[in-house]
């Protein structure tokens, strides 16, 4: 009788945890489904805030799924014309001043994108989260006035990733990424990404403003605002080629 009770309880716990994992993975899938367009063209404004000065940048971005992204810097003058290309797991940087394209080493993925608080990886269309991370549901919380799922992403074994763990708050209705806390390998919080200002694009409700704040650095942050998003563009794989980096306008 006792053993039966025991096995029944374990069975329930087993199903509950399985259901939880399933649920968490589904939430992350829904988040990506909502956030990532099959293809799109967008205009983004970046403001880097530092003690003593601010720096403003503008750029055009083209993406195709999670595999391809092209970013053209349009302002300021010093960086104007620089192009970044993400193709699969490779990252290239075209420098108009010397008319050369450099393949950036994988170690650069976690490094700052043009002096901002945003990493190259985060800027250049992060890939499928679930390929490298395991999702688990760790509760519910409110962010930006919306009830959210709290999802913890921990890296799978033997994957080379930038973060030790990520904590995401994803709103329950539209699956928007309201808040993300990034942790390093020592499980110390490194930076916080906060999303706001939902807009509706092609029937989807997405966030148009993100703010990346590094932990422990006074008056320092980077604000990223989507000025326009056009999911109606047609982009083929050839668009995302090294050769095309010199031509995009």
């Amino acid at each position: 009788m006792d053993s039966m009770k025991f096995s029944f309880t374990t069975l329930i716990i087993f199903f509950l945890t399985q259901a939880g994992a399933q649920n968490a993975a589904n939430i992350v899938l829904n988040l990506q489904k909502n956030m990532i367009f099959p293809q799109m063209q967008a205009e983004i404004a970046l403001q880097v805030e530092r003690p003593g000065f601010n720096k403003n940048m503008e750029m055009k971005v083209w993406t195709k799924g999670t595999d391809y992204a092209m970013t053209l810097i349009t302002s300021p003058e010093k960086e104007k014309g620089q192009v970044f290309l993400k193709s699969g797991s490779e990252l290239y940087n075209y420098l108009p001043g010397v008319n050369k394209t450099i393949k950036l080493p994988a170690t650069m993925l976690g490094q700052s994108f043009l002096g901002t608080d945003i990493s190259n990886e985060a800027m250049m269309q992060p890939g499928e989260l679930l390929n490298n991370y395991t999702a688990s549901l760790s509760g519910t919380e409110t962010a930006g006035g919306l009830p959210c799922w709290k999802i913890t992403l921990t890296p799978k074994e033997n994957t080379a990733v930038v973060w030790g763990k990520m904590e995401l708050l994803i709103d329950k209705k539209h699956f928007m990424q309201m808040k993300t806390v990034f942790y390093d390998e020592d499980m110390d919080a490194v930076s916080t990404l906060t999303g706001s200002k939902p807009i509706t694009v092609a029937g989807r409700t997405i966030l148009s403003r993100y703010e990346m704040t590094p932990v422990g650095k006074k008056s320092q942050r980077t604000v990223m605002v989507y000025k326009s998003i056009n999911p109606g563009v047609k982009l083929d794989a050839a668009f995302f080629s090294r050769d095309n980096m010199k031509n995009v306008r």
Partner: protein, 405 residues
């Protein structure tokens, strides 16, 4: 009288005297060699990092050590320059710009430490010009770069190729440029050899939008043992809280710690060596006395005072150890000089671990005169302490038994 007697006694049995003196002689050479090898190894470590790169003192922005980024750079100012020029004991003043960046040649990209520096001053401080193995040393106005050998190998490039540098400049600016490789330089320290790129300071200021600024000023000093007092002197004259004066052991605390830890271990080894040496000398002295038991017995029997006898033997031992340790000190000089000029190359796993720690895999002796004198004096004192026992025995021995022996 006693001294003459002691001196004559020494040469009555030359072989015995020479054997005893030789035991002191070799003890001095051995302990000097050991300590000088140890000190020499530290000197190699310090030279590899301090003299070949860091400099003995650096002036930096107070936040630079925690966060070495261009934003934490110093503005070039007259007050600082005047202070440095008017400080005694400084041999070189080298303003530098240091910044990590990506370097790329054709399809190869690597991380590198870009150092913008004054070619003449740098050569004076670190002897950079001597490390050029291909091409030419650079001019302040050439706009050319020098690439370390290991990095050049990784990038598959050589003199005359174009190097693209891509990095982060002052105030979140993006920096990139293309430069002709004017030469290849070779460092003994693999860490430097795999990541250094040198360029004129003006070129680096342009590249990283740092005109009129430096990330550090590296100083060479005439006498490394005065590093601390020179640093204190400069710090006392600068009243700017944004400027920090740092000595090499503040810049490289790990190096200082590992040397200190090793010094303790070396001290224990030296202690053991001294112990072995002491027993060696003790044995030899004891033998000498045993051989002369009969003689001492006769002397006491015909009326020599024991205290005078003891004093005479003490003077004999004093003379022997003096001869031994002075000869040892003198003879150690060529031996240690030889290993200073021809350092012993380390082999196998020792060499590997040395390279991994960033040092040249060699055992080199130090020529510091203090080591010769210290060890000569130490062995001399040991011999004197050891000879207390036989002298004490002389005051006590049984005359009848000695006469019968």
């Amino acid at each position: 009288m006693l001294l003459t007697l002691a001196w004559r006694n020494l040469w009555r049995n030359k072989r015995r005297t020479l054997i005893t003196a030789a035991s002191v002689f070799f003890a001095v050479i051995l302990s000097t060699l050991m300590q000088s090898m140890q000190r020499g190894t530290y000197a190699v470590m310090i030279r590899n990092v301090v003299q070949y790169y860091t400099g003995y003192i650096q002036i930096q922005h107070s936040r630079y050590q925690q966060e070495p980024v261009p934003d934490n750079s110093l503005e070039d100012n007259d007050a600082l320059q005047k202070t440095l020029i008017n400080t005694d004991g400084i041999t070189a003043i080298v303003p530098r710009i240091e910044n990590f960046a990506l370097v790329s040649v054709a399809d190869f990209t690597k991380g590198a430490l870009i150092v913008g520096t004054d070619p003449a001053g740098e050569n004076k401080l670190t002897g950079l010009g001597l490390k050029v193995t291909e091409g030419k040393y650079f001019d302040a106005d050439s706009g050319q770069v020098l690439v370390a050998e290991g990095l050049a190998k990784g990038l598959r490039c050589r003199t005359g190729d174009s190097l693209i540098i891509l990095g982060q400049g002052y105030m979140a600016s993006s920096s990139n440029g293309i430069y002709r490789i004017g030469g290849i330089i070779k460092f003994g320290n693999p860490e430097l050899n795999n990541r250094m790129v040198y360029m004129p300071v003006k070129t680096a200021q342009q590249l990283f939008s740092l005109s009129g600024r430096y990330t550090s000023v590296a100083l060479g000093v005439k006498d490394p043992s005065k590093t601390q007092s020179i640093a204190d002197g400069i710090a006392g004259k600068l009243h700017n809280t944004e400027t920090a004066v740092r000595t090499w052991w503040q810049l490289l605390p790990e190096l200082k710690e590992s040397i200190d830890a090793d010094k303790v271990a070396g001290g224990i080894m030296l202690g053991v060596l001294y112990l072995i040496i002491s027993f060696g000398i003790f044995g030899t002295v004891l033998m000498m006395l045993a051989e002369r038991r009969h003689e001492f017995g006769v002397m006491v029997a015909i009326g020599t005072k024991r205290i005078k006898l003891a004093l005479m033997v003490f003077l004999e031992i004093l003379n022997i150890t003096l001869i031994g340790s002075v000869a040892g000190m003198v003879a150690a000089i060529p031996v240690i000089y030889y290993f200073h000029v021809n350092p012993i190359p380390l082999q196998g796993r020792m060499a590997e671990s040395s390279i991994n720690m960033g040092f040249e895999p060699i055992l080199q002796t130090s020529l510091n005169p203090v080591i010769f004198i210290n060890n000569g004096v130490a062995v001399f004192l040991l011999a004197m302490i050891v000879s207390v026992y036989p002298v004490y025995k002389l005051l006590k021995f049984n005359t009848i038994q000695a006469l019968k022996s």
